[in-house]
Symmetry: C2
Subunit: 184 residues, 2 copies
């Protein structure tokens, strides 16, 4: 059996996956090089255009690939990739090909050249939108230009608490009845 097939997902709905604050795997490529890093510092910033802000420290090899290519993919891993994500976050791509080392299946994005991780639940292809705060804070604002996700409920995601401790996502609760119609 192959992987569940992802389908295109409306970019203005990326909050459905990103707003809860999961750890992401950020992939990038430039000039024959590629890298993957573990990302926990990100926030949704706008629905349309679909904007996401990410802190990508210049201490990461990925920072330079993103800076040079103005692109990346934000990949949403489920629980099965927790240990891999921790290992990716604890070594540098300047010394190795993490894709080979961690057995990551990847394919170029549909709208960006950066690789999508096929074993992640969803992929958000990003184009740099505003670099005004890159120099001061390593803060990149991306526009999500294409998104794909496995249809159905989100996976069990993992969220970093620092000090080596993660929170796994728990149950879903529905509070639609308490919302004003225009807030949904």
């Amino acid at each position: 059996m192959g992987r569940p097939r992802k389908r295109a997902f409306p970019v203005e709905n990326v909050r459905r996956y990103l707003e809860p604050g999961p750890i992401l795997l950020l992939t990038s490529a430039h000039d024959g090089e590629r890298d993957v890093m573990t990302l926990g510092w990100h926030t949704v910033m706008e629905f349309s255009p679909s904007l996401v802000g990410c802190v990508i420290s210049r201490a990461n090899h990925s920072h330079h690939l993103v800076r040079s290519s103005s692109q990346c993919v934000l990949n949403l891993p489920g629980e099965a990739l927790l240990d891999t994500a921790v290992r990716i976050g604890n070594c540098s791509g300047s010394e190795r090909d993490k894709f080979a080392e961690f057995g990551l299946n990847a394919r170029a994005g549909s709208k960006v050249a950066a690789p999508r991780l096929l074993d992640c639940h969803a992929c958000f292809e990003c184009q740099l939108f505003d670099d005004a705060l890159v120099e001061r804070y390593d803060f990149f604002i991306f526009e999500v230009v294409a998104a794909q996700a496995i249809p159905g409920p989100p996976p069990r995601t993992f969220h970093y608490r620092g000090e080596g401790e993660f929170m796994l996502s728990g149950e879903s609760v529905d509070r639609r009845a308490l919302f004003e119609p225009w807030m949904l």
Copy 2:
């Protein structure tokens, strides 16, 4: 029995509570007015100084109080406050005193004038650090100048998925053994 007593918490460790991406209650005050709003778009940006970036839409009354006072408090609610947080997010403080309406117990911060919500698990007192992206994106960068939290494990937090659906935080898992010492 009173509430569990909060203790001062090192500001460089706020990621322990904020990085997992919980819904927060943002409180502010200016010129005799006060307000509280529900906040889901935030990210940690730096350890020291302790920086947090937040999107506070100008459609929110709180935006103007934060803009005028250059301060706010980020309050971390536990599961018991889920319905209250949804209700707070579905009405405007320009027409009412949400503190009275929702029975919120509050006291001024130790370092800022904005109110702390006493029934929240943790309070992070914030001073505006950089408003470079406020005009373009309603994005405020705050420095956490004081923090208090109830000692012990974090509460069960709630995380917004959009469309009226929340994810409750689930179990904690420890992966310290997979970290390089300098990454902890």
